[in-house]
């Protein structure tokens, strides 16, 4: 059984085919990287998986359940957590409040007017745990909108983690980061994968990060998978080198 499966996924915007007949399958516990040149359709693929908009054709399955017609928030309830290429956070709330909202909604308290002691304690524990895991404990009381870019990206990952997702989708988590920050985020993703056994799909432009972390890599080119394999296979693939790695490296 695969954690995530796409079958013939296609998305067109007018005459532009952004995602073209994509089929792929991600195993439980796998870290899958998706790479490809700008405009290849990587983010659009994420948007289809997470229910941002409906596909033009094709199916999406999570653990063999067809979720193609579910709304975005229903997919989150099924265990999908995502981050965005351009950071999406609650800027005028503190880091802790950002994460707390995620934890409360994930625990099913989104409509609650009151939390009993034990529920409140459970949420608090989840929040502090997530803060510690993402290295944000010391900044928990700061407004997330006033943090440095790298910390904002980390806070967004923390919000996704507070959902306890079974499938974590990260869209260029190191985008716009310096050397040091990229290293820290890569370390975090490695821990999530190796230690916490998260199933992760990662869109990433930084090839060192991709080839160090990924179990398998899918290369998208003009909306369609050009290749799919282990990092070694991808590195050796002449078609990939011609289309992408050649001018990226």
């Amino acid at each position: 059984m695969s954690m995530l499966q796409a079958r013939g996924l296609t998305k067109t915007f007018g005459s532009l085919v952004a995602v073209k007949d994509v089929s792929l399958s991600v195993a439980p516990g796998e870290l899958r990287a998706i790479i490809g040149p700008n405009g290849a359709g990587k983010t659009t693929f994420f948007n289809l998986i997470t229910g941002f908009f409906p596909p033009t054709a094709g199916q999406i399955l999570v653990e063999d359940h067809d979720i193609t017609r579910l709304s975005a928030h229903q997919r989150v309830k099924l265990g999908m957590g995502r981050t965005f290429q351009i950071t999406e956070i609650f800027p005028e709330l503190t880091v802790r409040e950002n994460i707390r909202i995620a934890a409360e909604v994930a625990a099913g308290f989104g409509l609650h007017m009151w939390l009993g002691r034990s529920n409140a304690a459970r949420v608090r524990e989840r929040v502090e745990e997530t803060l510690a895991l993402t290295g944000l404990s010391a900044k928990a009381g700061r407004l997330v909108g006033e943090l440095a870019h790298g910390d904002q990206r980390a806070a967004e990952i923390a919000m996704a983690l507070a959902l306890k997702p079974r499938l974590l989708l990260l869209d260029e988590p190191t985008a716009g980061m310096g050397e040091q920050e990229t290293y820290q985020i890569a370390g975090l993703i490695r821990r999530l994968h190796r230690d916490s056994r998260y199933t992760i799909v990662l869109i990433e432009h930084d090839m060192r990060v991709v080839f160090n972390l990924a179990d398998r890599i899918t290369v998208l080119d003009q909306g369609h998978p050009l290749a799919d394999g282990t990092p070694e296979e991808i590195a050796a693939d002449p078609a990939v080198q011609a289309a992408y790695l050649g001018h990226a490296a």
Binding site: H73, V76, I89, E92, I101, E104, L115
Partner: protein, 327 residues
Amino acid sequence: MSVAIAGVASRRRGERDWLTTAVIALALLTVPLWLPWVGGYTALASHVLVMGLVAMALNFLLGFTGVMSFGHAAYFGLGAYGTGLTLRYVSDSTMLALLAGILLGGIAGTVLGALIARRRGVYFAMVTIAFGQIFYYIAYSWNDFTGGYDGLRGFSRQPLQIGPLVIDIQNNGTLFYYFVLTVFAVSVALMAFILASPFGRTLLAIRENQRRARFLGIPVDRHIWLSFSISCFFAGTAGALYALLNNFADPTALHYSLSGEIVIMVVMGGMRAFWGPLVGAAVFVVLQDYVSSMTVNWMSFIGLMFVAVVLFFPRGLLGILRRRREA
């Protein structure tokens, strides 16, 4: 900048909120003692509370959910008519009339909210205006029942009876003020309670970033609908008090120009501050009272002040005070 200030002081934020609340509570509780000294009268203070409540109700939606309604007078006006019609045709119980007003405004908001919660931005605001005007024309045209253009008369609030105790809010303005203050306090406490809950935090999340909220699993449309509904119950409460205050309800209480005034109160007072709209309403109502006795152009006076606040103090009047104290 202002964000940074709030952040540095985030630990003191809680204490400061309590202090503001204590000062406001003290001022409101002692109104009959100090108001005559500054040339005010109790009915004016009651009016401030009524408009303060509807402004805070709108701000529940605008400031704490990030959704703009330009038609909130509709639910305020329905509250007023619900109360007036009940006293006039059904019962002489003030409490029952109050309840009828709250329910009429709240239920109308809940039903219409279900139809508009999926719209966004300008479309949402436009539809809220359109629905508001429908009620205006009903009240305006239905002469026999609502009194039409002249408004609904022929009712008056009745003394409260609690067991053997009779509280004469009918003739004693001070007692009526404390009655309004009690309803106001309960409403505001409920709003604060909801905003401090997990549900309340989902509303803040929606205000801050709808996309992020949606992809954390919050059904955004449904939560906006609930927020709209809650906001309308409180707007209806304010409208019910308004009818009791004036022993009168008229179509202008439903009109979109009143909706606009409520928005002005909220923005002028400060929509990020819990008490901001009350301060805005106080300034608005008092200015209206004083300036309108001197010139018919009081609205341009308010307009100028509004523009000045928006340009120079985008966080509203209460926002200025807060920044002062932090500096």
